[in-house]
């Protein structure tokens, strides 16, 4: 089984969110980058589990600058076989998906896995876009993934519930909670990662569809109004007359 796992970086969840250059850029000062949790905990670990049971190869791919090699090495240390970095600023989801699809077209993958979403842009766009480029079925928000021969069985979140589906490879899947458990890389993995192949390729030049122009922080919350725990009538009164939500 030949698996491609799409890895993006995201700021550590406790990072302070601030912007610079006239609010046009995310302020990276002091920000620690991690592998986007959905990509690492679910997509990558499930890919490794499949490889361990049925054999195959796990390639990770990222669209990013040379600075992103730290997160690539982390993913290699967890156990991916080889890595590809498309050397470009990931300006928007369409750009990222088009670059990854171009690479996937040249290499036959049975499974292309993405995370549910990046925790910085939360777009949930890249997986569906790759699938359309490759004209493949796409199963989004899968919480279970099993393979028997060329049939992939998945459990997926649907509006108000869950469904189990079957689809033949090749297929694109976005991975959510439940699919696997986080793995901590061990010393051997970290040593091995240093010498695993990392191919850097130039991006294809494509037209830009969207652009992030400016960022804005939400208005500071006004101080919390404290209510006497013995007087819930006053809370109900405020929710009705002041907040107007009931």
């Amino acid at each position: 089984m030949n698996i491609l796992v799409c890895i993006s970086k995201s700021p550590d969840t406790t990072s302070k969110i601030a912007f610079t250059e006239g609010n046009s850029k995310f302020d990276e000062n002091g920000v620690q980058y991690i592998v986007n949790p959905y990509d690492e905990w679910y997509a990558l670990v499930r890919a490794l589990e499949l490889k361990e049971t049925i054999g195959g190869n796990v390639t990770i791919i990222t669209v990013g600058n040379a600075g992103d090699e730290a997160i690539i090495r982390k993913a290699l240390a967890i156990g991916a076989d080889n890595a590809v970095r498309i050397d470009a600023e990931p300006t928007d989801a369409y750009f990222v998906a088009t670059q990854i699809a171009a690479y996937a077209k040249k290499n036959a993958f049975d499974l292309v896995l993405t995370g549910k979403e990046t925790i910085n842009y939360n777009g949930s766009q890249v997986g569906g876009m790759i699938a359309e480029h490759l004209e493949l079925p796409y199963v989004s928000l899968a919480s279970k993934l099993d393979v028997a021969g060329n049939v992939v069985t998945l459990e997926q979140e649907i509006v108000g519930g869950l469904q189990v589906v079957e689809v033949n490879t090749p297929v694109v899947v976005s991975c959510a909670k439940g699919m696997a458990e986080q793995r901590i890389p061990n010393m051997r993995g970290i040593m091995a990662a240093r010498t695993k192949p990392l191919e850097v390729i130039a991006p294809e030049s494509i037209e830009l569809f969207t652009q992030y122009e400016t960022y804005q922080l939400p208005d500071a919350k006004k101080a919390c109004t404290m209510i006497d725990p013995a007087n819930m009538e006053s809370l109900v009164e405020l929710l009705h007359n002041e907040a107007k939500v009931i």
């Binding site: 480029h133 989004s140 649907i158 869950l162 909670k177 939400p218 725990p229 809370l235």
Partner: protein
């Protein structure tokens, strides 16, 4: 200018559907809706601004690849220049596909109407609700996926023509083996009022208090991640960064500390009420109303007060 709105199969009365029709109407120009399945009730969309509803009756179930073809074919036949989705699980798979198919820029998770004075820009949620971004679209056709609960549906009393529309989308590559849908409960992402509880409730046997408050309010129930992880509550109730992100009008949190990863899923709520025995709980910083007290004591009192209020109104 024409705007095409995708409506999930047989969801003509759903609030999310009425929101996207209202949103499309506010863009100005003609609004056409496209859907599949039964056309029963499709004309109700007229009251919110759709002049026409295209229904592909040849499909009863459809996967996202088929829905993409359906919407693309409706764009072609209507000449629409803007396509609107409600940002739900179906749209999260269809809108990106459509973006590639039509070579149209996608704004995913919009929370406001676009600005068209200088180009075409729209505001979206980023960094798990901790910031907003303004995104511009450069392509001729624009796709917007609107976050639920970002606009109030407005009944303007029009009427819609319902037409059958066959997009010949072909067979599905995905076979549905089984589906599980909990009966009766309000789906969390659509709920306007949510009552949520965390580890402070001590055990699953104490959730009766939470459910009674939710029932009194007509609210959905939610929980923090550890509570779903230990199995006190079902996973679909887990809100936060790794769970469901919600933005109800009212979020009541009892016995939840307010960790940043929890806040990421709920900080879009219009009003937050926090009930916690620890006055130092971080959640109070994100709350509009706070009650320092024992949830076992406060929740039943609040339920009583709500019941009294409902009876009087």
């Amino acid at each position: 200018m024409k705007t095409l709105v995708f409506i999930n199969s047989n969801h003509f009365a759903a609030k999310a559907s009425l929101e996207v029709i209202t949103y499309a109407k506010k863009l100005g120009g003609e609004v056409v809706a496209v859907t599949y399945g039964s056309q029963e009730g499709a004309d109700q969309l007229g009251a919110y601004g759709a002049s026409k509803v295209l229904v592909d009756n040849s499909l009863t179930v459809a996967d996202e690849q088929q829905i993409t073809k359906l919407v693309a074919s409706a764009v072609e036949s209507t000449g629409a220049t803007t396509v609107i989705f409600s940002h739900d699980l179906v749209a999260k798979a269809v809108a990106p596909r459509l973006s590639v198919k039509l070579k149209a820029g996608l704004i995913s998770g919009a929370i406001a109407l676009p600005e068209t004075g200088n180009g075409f820009t729209c505001k979206v949620n980023v960094f798990s609700g901790k910031a907003f971004a303004t995104v511009s679209v450069k392509t001729d056709i624009k796709i917007i996926s609107l976050l639920p609960n970002s606009i109030q549906p407005e009944n303007i009393g029009g009427s819609a023509v319902v037409e059958s529309f066959n997009a010949n989308v072909g067979a599905s590559a995905i076979k549905v083996v089984s589906t599980k849908k909990p009966e009766g409960s309000i789906p969390l992402p659509e709920a306007e009022l949510v009552v949520s509880a965390g580890r402070g409730l001590k055990g699953p046997e104490n959730w009766g208090m939470v459910e009674e408050l939710a029932t009194a309010l007509g609210a959905a129930t939610a929980c923090s991640r550890p509570v779903a992880d230990i199995g006190w509550r079902p996973h679909h109730e887990h809100v936060g960064q790794t769970g469901v992100a919600i933005r109800p009008n009212l979020y009541i949190a009892a016995g939840i500390s307010g960790a940043i990863q929890h806040l990421a899923g709920v900080n879009g709520s219009k009003v937050i009420v926090v009930i916690n025995s620890d006055p130092e709980a971080p959640f109070f910083k994100a709350a509009d109303y706070g009650v320092v007290g024992d949830a076992f004591d406060v929740l039943p009192k609040l339920t009583e007060a709500i019941k009294k209020f409902k009876n009087a109104n």
